[in-house]
Symmetry: C4
């Protein structure tokens, strides 16, 4: 069942490790089959070195486990909230990558300081509010998803493909699981660059909106002219 | 004698190098056989590239060398104090990993800033007081262990699996030698994240106690639901 | 056509990745055949892992594509402006390397703090002004080149082989494509060292002009005595 | 001639690269045969990938080239001054390693903040004064050596096996070329730890002299008990 998607999601999880985004098992990637309404996600706490495509877990969007002997990632309810609210996305990634997590722990959104940022994120990378005591004591992982959705508002998820959860770390997403991994790598690099930028100039200002528009739109949307897709 | 434990302790020492926690010979891991009351530890100043399982040294808890041609790690008396005082632990690791050592040199405990921390350490990672002149001039390595125990107080060692010794560096521990290595890796990563966090927001506050409870308890204790152990 | 130059430019692009200067496809190198008035450049958005020498694109200095099935790097007009204005250069490189980009985002030139800098850059590494709204909305990539030339002034491009574009990142150049890569590596290392230098001493001053002269001139010019070229 | 020493010095130079201390050709190691009064040093500006033991250059302590077709490192006169003034040393290394160079550029000695430092350096790692205009315009590389010796004073070179030259970078030394490489690695790690330490606590104080004594002396001198040498 969903063998191709399992293979993709497994590969996406392995790529998290390859890109240096995870220590031990601290990360997870998932993908969705929108037609069937089923998601495939990494099992909880399994080591990357031994994980196989057939270990991936299948669930429906109500959170019922449809296939797999292993328990799914404990963050699964967060992934599900994102899939239910962001209909354009096909993959979700969560990591504790060093610099992105530091910004999340600092409780600060990452400002758009340059064109590297503007090439992928159309504006700042938002940081959520803290969860309330009720949210922490309730369905915590699901509430984490809801707080992301609340902070995200009406933005296009494919135009701002990631967010920071305060005191926790980054979530990213994309057209599919691999695209979500791609954005997790970008987010960590932007967090690192932003750290060095602020350290080098404590009074640095965000970039000009027009330059942000220019760079985002030369890679995205109908007039894009970056890459080979339109030649 | 204790061939399996020697193999485990040797592997744990090799893993310190694999995880990038040691420069040259700056680190040591040990394990204990509680039934026999014997510990196995790395020899002093031997290079990782040539070290073999049979080079591991066996001592009793009074510090008497029971087996092995090589002198044990000079930090052995510190390990012994930890084994004698923390009956739940089965392995100890000491490193001079970069960021954890920097916090120790700065003389500051590492505050709990986020869920990565809360997943493993139930509260701040304490930093000891400086040793007194008498302690330095006396049985220095043993006194180092005593200062750790003094600072640690009545906490559960498996709930706070590591500490910083002021002006020195981190010690960590766990169920066995490999678990102590695992916590040494976590401690270094937390120290690095905390550095970036404080640099990004000089007025950052520690995380909500309730969120700390939530994350620690979802991985530890009788209601844990992270990983595969309970499925 | 230009097979040798294509091979060189391909190798230069691959070396960007080898030296850790690029994430994904975020960089490009080009070279020029001055006699023929033709430049060879990396195609846009192609992954390094699959890119071959024959994928390189050939253009004339008016920007007309002379050979190649793929679209050239979107930064090609910037490269062309540099070739047209800096007649001594034979290669150009653009990256988003972490620390150099951070200085560009901070909007600050990198001061000459020591002999590592002076060995390659005869004075500070300049940072351009921001582009105007008209420049961003006009021929953006070409205007980027013009802003570089404006800031650079009458300096010898082989004496200051790189620059930072504000809110964007570094461009470097050299005698050929490989030399431009060499200077991209140097620029990133100087940016990193300058970050640590300013963090360590917030009131640090630039180096003595005489020491700058001494180091630059012992490696460059008619009295150079570094390396093997004159023995 | 001196084939064994050439092999050692070549290996020491290769180890600089292996330990990540050099970018391109930015470093050099040498060794001395005290009986013959001859030193062996890396040739100037030769790439590590192609350098062979037989490329090493032999000179006497007056700086006359005794053997070798290649020109010696341009820093050779500095090495010679060190060999002439520090009779206990058998090897010298110069690098531009990132953090040590940053402290040199900042013009600050590296304070002894902890036991990692005390295990190898018996006190701060000094930073020289700037060279005068006359020194820069005179026999620059020789004057660099003299400024090191002036700053170093009457300390035992084997107790403080390295120094920072202001606006330049680190020099280290040891019993032989490999020992000098070892101290270059230590110096860079101490510089990195000290950066993180000062960033974490801007009011950090140097360590207790008694703790410094304890750690240095447990590894060095007649009562040393670290390592296997005395068992």
């Amino acid at each position: 069942m969903l063998e191709e998607l399992k293979q993709q999601v497994w590969q996406a999880n392995m790529n998290l490790q390859k890109h240096g985004l995870v220590v031990f098992t601290w990360g997870n990637a998932s993908g969705i089959d929108r037609e069937k309404g089923l998601i495939v996600i990494k099992p909880s706490g399994v080591e990357y070195d031994t994980m196989q495509p057939e270990d991936m877990v299948v669930l429906d969007l109500a959170g019922n486990q449809v296939e797999g002997d292993l328990r799914p990632s404990s963050d699964t309810p967060t992934h599900i909230v994102l899939y239910r609210n962001f209909s354009a996305i096909g993959g979700v990634v969560h990591t504790h990558s060093t610099c992105a997590t530091a910004w999340a722990q600092a409780g600060k959104s990452i400002p758009a300081f340059g064109t590297t940022h503007a090439d992928y994120f159309y504006g700042e990378i938002p940081c959520t509010r803290n969860l309330s005591r009720e949210e922490i004591q309730g369905e915590y992982e699901e509430e984490t998803g809801k707080v992301i959705v609340e902070k995200f508002g009406q933005k296009n998820p494919l135009h701002v493909p990631g967010i920071l959860v305060a005191n926790h770390g980054p979530f990213s997403w994309g057209k599919d699981a691999q695209d979500a991994v791609y954005h997790a790598v970008v987010l960590e690099e932007l967090a690192k660059m932003a750290f060095y930028t602020c350290s080098t100039n404590s009074e640095v200002k965000v970039m000009d909106q027009l330059l942000l528009d220019k760079h985002f739109l030369r890679k995205h949307g109908k007039n894009a002219y970056y890459g080979q897709n339109k030649l």
